[in-house]
């Protein structure tokens, strides 16, 4: 198996995922699950093939990492869908997976980019993948909050808040995975699981923000607007953690995460 064949496997997989996403909107539950699963199998066949021909798990290069992103996104999507039946989730994960597939197709030179020894870890991919998924879920929660605060006329319904709450619960769960995978990995590389590196500090800030939201919702379930504002503030902190610190003077000098 080589990268030359990637476009064919990816195209077939995306077609299945897109078909599944469309059928989700039409409430064809069984077909949705089946088609998305077939897409996942096709895509995983490529990963497996690469694994065998490379004689190592394809986790080393950026391009190989994106391969796993594109696989895990619809996988997480199908889990969330089968649990909560949110119609939009599969469209969302399909589009995101497609973005990463396109990056791999149009920026092939990155496939062979070197990876410094510290990044050559089995934790690398899961650490980044779960973070990306949580960012995606929390991004959806933020869009929901903006919609409810700005565009929604009249009372916010219980169902709408239930959706926002669920996105945050699942989002913070993956945020926790990402943060703790990072801690376990850091222990393996640097001998310390938490060093208050600026990226880690902002990861903690983001995590605490969503904890405030969850506890505030439990303490004051009827105060909808402040809760939605917490969501927006939290997402600003999340952006700071994701890429904002690259521009933050306080972080540039000291962070191992600035790239």
């Amino acid at each position: 198996m080589t990268w030359d064949l990637f476009i064919w496997f990816a195209a077939v997989a995306v077609l299945f995922w897109a078909a599944g996403a469309v059928l989700a909107w039409k409430d064809r539950r069984a077909l949705t699950l089946a088609l998305t699963s077939v897409g996942l199998l096709v895509f995983f066949a490529f990963i497996l093939g690469m694994w065998i021909s490379l004689e190592r798990p394809p986790l080393r290069t950026q391009g190989e990492t994106r391969l796993w992103y594109s696989f895990f996104l619809p996988l997480c999507g199908i889990i969330v869908y089968s649990r909560w039946r949110y119609k939009w989730i599969l469209s969302f994960t399909t589009v995101l997976a497609l973005v990463f597939i396109c990056v791999n197709l149009f920026k092939p030179e990155i496939h062979n980019k070197t990876l410094m020894p510290a990044l050559q870890s089995a934790w690398f991919a899961p650490h980044v993948i779960v973070y990306m998924l949580s960012y995606a879920l929390l991004g959806a929660a933020t869009l929901m909050a903006i919609y409810l605060l700005v565009f929604r006329k009249g009372q916010v319904t219980a169902d709408e808040m239930l959706m926002a709450d669920n996105l945050v619960y699942v989002g913070i769960a993956f945020l926790t995975f990402g943060m703790l995978f990072g801690a376990l990995w850091a222990k393996q590389v640097w001998g310390t699981y938490w060093g208050w590196d600026p990226k880690e500090t902002w990861a903690a800030i983001t995590w605490l923000c969503y904890l405030v939201y969850i506890h505030f919702r439990l303490a004051r379930p009827k105060d909808i607007r402040p809760a939605l504002w917490i969501l927006i503030f939290a997402y600003v902190c999340l952006q700071m953690c994701w890429w904002g610190i690259n521009y933050l003077q306080a972080a540039r000098a000291t962070s191992v995460h600035v790239y």
């Binding site: 239930l162 703790l180 393996q188 500090t201 902002w202 605490l208 003077q249």
Partner: protein, 303 residues
């Protein structure tokens, strides 16, 4: 105000009061000296803290404050204060020396430490409450809260007991001394023999002037006092665990590059680590339960 039941406002006032206490402490006694909490002081402090939590719990019917601390209304302001001070920490560059007084040294700033301690007392109280009323439904709650409690409390209290030493090795020689970051030299009950320092580089990449390091590793034999000899290759990301120490590939003679005959290993001993890890694994399990049990359920529509 101060009419029962207390609301968020009272919580923010109590947190503000703690902040003031922290500032007064900072002025009166200076920064927090974590190194003074080295064993056995940290174990004693932990014992006192746990006992205090138990007493507060026992007095909850008599003292309204303790009862109130177990409600989400108390947790929101507590997290907010920890959050606010952590944001300051994220905005102000943290340095060892100099910088902005107080704010550049957040980890030894009393209000920061007290804000987190207050949060942990609250978490400890609710954990005790849930433990004493245990049933299977409490497991998700306990995994998350007890996990955070263990990881944070043991991580912070254990930090003064953590030893981090650097051992400089030369090829063909045996070393039994290592030094800490202040330069103090320690004689160890083991010695490390460096056979070979391995450094590999990637081929020169287009657009780059220097070859990138691909791998560095040390082939060593560790001889222990008990007469055991262990052969190992220590890679970045693949540390060696032996006799309570963990050996990490840390540095090499960067001027010599691939020709380096020198390798620096970092040796870490962290006796509180198993408790922190227990906390981390509980939080990971807790995150799973967050998805499947704790998230509020949507009403299912039948197909």
């Amino acid at each position: 105000m101060w009419n029962k039941p207390w609301k968020l406002k009272e919580g923010f006032l109590i947190g503000g009061g703690l902040l003031v206490v922290g500032l007064l402490l900072q002025i009166a006694v200076g920064p927090v000296h974590w190194e003074r909490l080295a064993f056995p002081a940290n174990v004693i402090l932990l014992g006192i803290g746990l006992a205090a939590i138990a007493v507060m719990y026992a007095l909850r019917k008599k003292v309204y404050l303790f009862e109130w601390m177990m409600h989400t209304g108390a947790s929101v302001p507590a997290i907010c204060y920890a959050l606010g001070l952590t944001i300051v920490m994220g905005l102000v560059a943290q340095v060892d020396e100099g910088g902005i007084p107080w704010l550049s040294h957040m980890l030894t700033f009393w209000p920061f430490v007290l804000a987190y301690a207050w949060m942990m007392v609250i978490v400890g109280l609710v954990c005790l409450n849930h433990l004493l009323h245990f049933n299977l439904k409490e497991i998700p709650f306990l995994l998350n809260h007890l996990g955070v409690f263990l990881a944070l409390v043991c991580g912070a209290l254990g930090s003064p007991d953590k030893r981090e030493l650097l051992m400089t090795l030369e090829e063909g020689q045996t070393q039994s001394k290592a030094e800490d970051e202040s330069g103090k030299v320690y004689d160890l009950d083991l010695s490390v023999e460096l056979h070979d320092f391995i450094m590999e580089e990637y081929p020169l990449q287009p657009g780059m002037r220097m070859r990138m390091p691909k791998r560095f590793a040390s082939e060593v034999t560790v001889h222990t006092k008990q007469g055991k000899s262990v052969d190992a290759t220590i890679d970045v990301n693949k540390p060696l665990k032996l006799n309570g120490w963990v050996f990490y590939q840390y540095d090499y003679d960067s001027e010599a590059g691939t020709e380096s005959k020198v390798s620096v290993l970092q040796m870490v001993k962290d006796p509180w680590l198993p408790f922190v890890y227990a906390g981390i694994y509980m939080m990971l399990a807790g995150a799973v339960t967050l998805i499947f049990f704790m998230a509020p359920r949507p009403k299912r529509k039948e197909e």
